[in-house]
């Protein structure tokens, strides 16, 4: 099954829509709750990153009996140093973003921890694509 969601930069109040929708679907498919939790956390963090750091993006989810593959492609500034960005606690979040409760620098490490496969492709000045794979069993 293929699903698609749009994400707008700066729209924090709508962030989490894709993860809620996908959570609902996975629950209806009786996927193990522990696995669902991992999907929701990883997807939510990635979704919020687009909202907080990029201009706009598209989330694509592909679900089959074996698992879920998520692709989050955004138009945005890109990530100059991916290794640095992956370091727990590293963040370039503005004061305004931190005041909304984001910007602890834990998003990318959290995604990586919850995903079975995780890949970042980024071009500075163009955008970032995250690929997250999580197996159901």
């Amino acid at each position: 099954m293929n699903l698609e969601y749009k994400v707008e930069g700066g729209d924090f109040t709508s962030a989490g829509l894709a993860s809620s929708q996908i959570k609902k679907i996975l629950k209806q498919l009786n996927v193990d709750p522990a696995v669902i939790k991992r999907v929701v956390i990883a997807l939510y963090e990635a979704e919020v990153n687009i909202v907080a750091h990029a201009y706009r993006g598209v989330i694509k989810a592909q679900i089959d009996g074996g698992g879920i593959n998520l692709t989050l492609e955004d138009e945005g500034p890109g990530i100059p140093d991916v290794e640095m960005a992956m370091t727990p606690g590293f963040s370039t979040a503005s004061k305004a973003v931190r005041e909304m409760g984001f910007g602890a620098g834990m998003g990318l490490p959290n995604i990586s921890e919850n995903a079975d496969d995780f890949k970042i492709d980024t071009i500075v000045g163009q955008g970032t694509t995250l690929r997250i794979g999580i197996k159901f069993r």
């Binding site: 099954m1 993860s19 809620s20 959570k23 679907i25 629950k27 709750p33 939510y44 089959d64």
Partner: protein, 443 residues
């Protein structure tokens, strides 16, 4: 499909039900459908919340309480009364009088069920300190069942300590046993403000068997007591009254009455849709630093229980007034320590998955995809004329072979307009949903 709820706490009376579908629209788990003109419960999905009973305009849903006469199977008949019962009466009716009447109506002893709250609260704090946060209260059985069915990933947050009612029941059981009274002579009854508590007594979760022998419907019993009061039934004073209650105990079943006793950051949320909204975000792990959640299915908690007949705000107000006159601690705390432990632990609560499409994930995916395609065809009005609570639910039913595309009146009208569906066929479909005689009426 059966005509009773999962734990057989409610029953739909086929001869009274007119299939009006009000219940179908309010069920939080979409466990109801209309078929052949009658409401039908998908028992596996029912969480015993009683929302269907609350809304039924035809009184076609019956509470499966126990026959009152069965109390006479026991020599000693103890009634555990929740504080919300006293608040069913106007404040001018003396509590003492209510106790006396309960005795006249057949009980040998009456006890305030929230008595065990005093000794329980310290233990709850101890538990919360060491448990996975946030701890979700185990008080409201409808919430527990909601979590089992709709939020299986959260079952481990439910506090594994039994609610006060079970401790009070244990106290009586042990006290009478120590006094040498044979097991079969003591009957413990609970006066219930809701059907969720009936379910909790009859089929408890967490590997526990309740010593409570029967459940009495509070709505029914209020009428009996009030009638006796109005008719000035003479009282003999033969009942033994154990009305000891602290203000904490009285307030416990009201919103905030439980969380107020828990240290740390706590929230009290009442009302089914509020609880569902909160559990959704909790499941996404968007909430940090909350230690304890008091979640109650009913608006105003038990003051708004389905068997509480009085306006829920007035009921809650009466309980607060009663609490203001009660002491901080009651005298029986030591007695409780003698006869029962302050807490009773239960096992982990198992999730009760809804199986929306299929147990096999590949089959489920296929069915879900088909359902999504079907949903595109439906108007999205959720009119309920198909006998399902929403277009989405109809799509699910169709892919499971439990309904048909033509059940949708919008599509059917379209097919009729195109001349693809004969009128007789359309009528037959409507009769399958709404009953055979429904379209024979002469005006």
């Amino acid at each position: 499909m059966s005509r009773t709820t999962y734990n057989r706490a409610l029953e739909i009376l086929d001869d009274v039900c007119i299939g009006c579908s009000h219940c179908m629209k309010v069920c939080p788990t979409e466990a109801l459908r209309v078929s052949a003109g009658k409401a039908v419960i998908h028992a596996d999905w029912c969480i015993d919340c009683g929302e269907c009973y609350r809304i039924c305009p035809n009184r076609a849903i019956r509470v499966m309480d126990d026959d009152f006469k069965q109390i006479y199977n026991y020599k000693y008949r103890v009634l555990l009364v929740p504080s919300v019962f006293f608040a069913q009466f106007e404040d001018s009716v003396p509590r003492e009088k209510i106790y006396q009447i309960i005795g006249e109506l057949g009980f040998t002893e009456v006890c305030a069920v929230e008595q065990s709250v005093d000794s329980l609260t310290d233990e709850v704090n101890e538990y919360v300190k060491n448990a996975q946060k946030p701890v979700i209260s185990s008080f409201c059985p409808a919430v527990i069942r909601l979590i089992q069915v709709r939020f299986p990933s959260l079952v481990d947050h439910i506090m594994q300590l039994l609610p006060p009612i079970e401790i009070t029941a244990q106290y009586y059981k042990n006290k009478f046993a120590k006094a040498g009274i044979p097991d079969g002579e003591l009957g413990i009854f609970y006066l219930t403000p809701c059907i969720a508590k009936i379910a909790a007594v009859k089929s408890p979760v967490g590997g526990y068997t309740s010593p409570i022998n029967g459940v009495i419907n509070m709505d029914f019993f209020f009428n009996k007591v009030y009638l006796a009061y109005k008719q000035r039934l003479p009282v003999s004073g033969n009942i033994s009254i154990n009305g000891e209650l602290s203000s904490k105990g009285i307030l416990y079943p009201t919103t905030g009455g439980e969380s107020a006793n828990v240290e740390g950051r706590t929230l009290a949320i009442d009302g089914m849709s509020n609880v569902i909204d909160f559990l959704e975000i909790l499941e996404n792990e968007e909430i940090d630093g909350v230690d304890f959640l008091e979640l109650r299915a009913c608006d105003q908690s038990c003051a708004g229980g389905i068997l509480s007949h009085r306006n829920r705000f007035l009921t809650a107000e009466s309980m607060k007034k009663y609490a203001a006159t009660a002491p901080d601690y009651h005298k029986l705390t030591l007695d409780y320590q003698r006869y029962t432990s302050a807490v009773i632990h239960m096992d982990r609560i198992e999730p009760r998955s809804m199986v929306k499409y299929d147990r096999d994930i590949d089959a489920a995916l296929q069915k879900m995809e088909r359902a999504r395609e079907l949903r595109e065809l439906f108007p999205g009005i959720d009119c309920g004329a198909c006998g399902a609570p929403s277009c989405e639910a109809l799509a699910e039913d169709i892919v499971k072979g439990q309904s048909e595309i033509n059940a949708c009146i919008f599509l059917r009208t379209l097919y009729e307009k195109r001349g693809e569906l004969p009128l007789e066929e359309a009528i037959k479909i409507m009769e399958r949903i709404w009953g055979r005689t429904r379209f024979d009426k002469r005006f």
